[in-house]
Amino acid sequence: MTNNNKETDSMSFSERTANALSKIASPMASFAKLPSISAIQEGLMSSIPITIAGSLFLILTMLSAVIPPLTQYMDSILNVYSMTLGFIGFYVAYAIAHSYGEKLGLDTKLSGLIGILAFFFICYDDVSAGMLSTSYFGSTGMFVAMVASIVSVRIYKFFIDRKIVIKLPDGVPPSVGNSFSSLIPVTVIITLAWFIRSILKIDLAVIVMNFFTPLLSGADSLGFYTLIMFLTLLLWSIGLNGPSMLAAITTPIVTNALACNAAAKVAGESMQYIWTSEFNYSYLWLCSIYPLLLLLVLSKSKTFMAVGIASIPSALFNIIEPVVFGLPLAMNAYLMIPFVISGTVGCALSYFLTMIGFVGKAFIDVPFVTPPFVAGFLISGDWKALIAQLITFVIGVIIYLPFFKIFEKKTLEEERNAENENS
């Protein structure tokens, strides 16, 4: 009887936590669902293959220390960096506008082009010399690209909604009609952007950057990073994909950080940012999920061992659903606490170790499914990342141990009871 009571108590505890968290999370989720916000996020995410491909070439620049013949191609190799990571602002201008147009039910091809047009007209007032400065194409231009593509596509939508378009007779093929129907909004968008940049001489790129820079450096701090990681872990502890819910806020921060760090690295300057998505995935599950997997595999309980072994292959690639829902870890009154604590402590510590310069900062983009013990070293080119990872992992094991033992004892008793009933 007492056992049953305890069960209901622990359930209601996790349910209470879940309810409280859903209340916190729901405004977050509605913010993320705003068409403009999710378009920015999707647009930035679609640039990931480009930054990863560019990063592969940045790895070559590191290898040149080991393979001297590479040195003579250094300029050409850095060109690849310039046209991938270094052009990120330009690419996302198209991708964000395309996504936003899709969400608003507009012609997506034209929306994408309008994004690029607005970006160009807002950034440049003089192309007469036959040259463009590419400085706005990089991370400097990323935020102006976001603003320009969202505003311009919204203007496009305004004209389409009010049917302020050129209508051709019914006999004209639809594809011809479409290109004409958008003539008025496109002309207005170009005129507006041209007027701001070329006539009023207002450089929005600089204004936007001045606005975002203090926010970005404020966000990349030990306190804020730890808070975001704490929320991420808390959401996962009730079985919600935390990173995906918080991505509306974090994606612009981390995309900019990596692009800036890569630019600084190439220019031979010191890197500014610690918090990148690559840094995150090098430590987050390594300090909060891997310790649990180790304990599961070493456990005397057959259930635990089975779940542990089954969860390892996907966990190696940062996919944690099998252990979160299979054990389950989610809503598990015994394991939620060490999961959140080990993750928060591990992330804060890894940030601290990077801050004091023990581990190098990240400037290489890798897919989020890269095994963390490979990623940590690869993204920074610093082997000491492995030491930092080992420390956070060990701390994780220590934090889990007392909680895990209690949970294991209970599970072993249940297994024994089940066996007795069978025999």
Binding site: K33, L240, N241, S314, A330
Partner: protein
């Protein structure tokens, strides 16, 4: 022929389950078209679909899912946590077939 679409944040972990569900369907001789997608691509992947399943970690988009699926008459539900965690293709296939019957 039944068409099942699974959605989660990136379509990563649901794709693990898809393989298991396809095996289960094959063993039972059910002709099934099953695939996984990120939830942001949901709108594009609802043509001729019989049932929509959501990974439990993405259940915060269930409201949006219902809004997209109900007008098309597609039943939608969140996969039970334990079945999802165990990647139990058989049980999730049953779950999907049950949902179809209810319509």
């Amino acid at each position: 022929m039944i068409t099942i679409r699974l959605f989660c944040s990136a379509g990563m972990s649901t794709s693990l389950l898809v393989t298991k569900m396809q095996d289960a369907a094959r063993q039972r001789g059910i002709e099934a078209d099953i695939s996984a997608h990120p939830e942001s691509q949901m709108q594009k992947n609802l043509e001729n679909v019989d049932v929509v399943l959501l990974g439990p970690q993405a259940r915060f988009v269930f409201e949006k899912t219902k809004k997209l699926c109900e007008p098309k008459g597609i039943p939608a539900a969140v996969i039970p946590m334990q079945d999802y965690g165990r990647m139990d293709g058989n049980r999730v296939l049953d779950f999907a077939l049950d949902l179809m019957k209810k319509i």
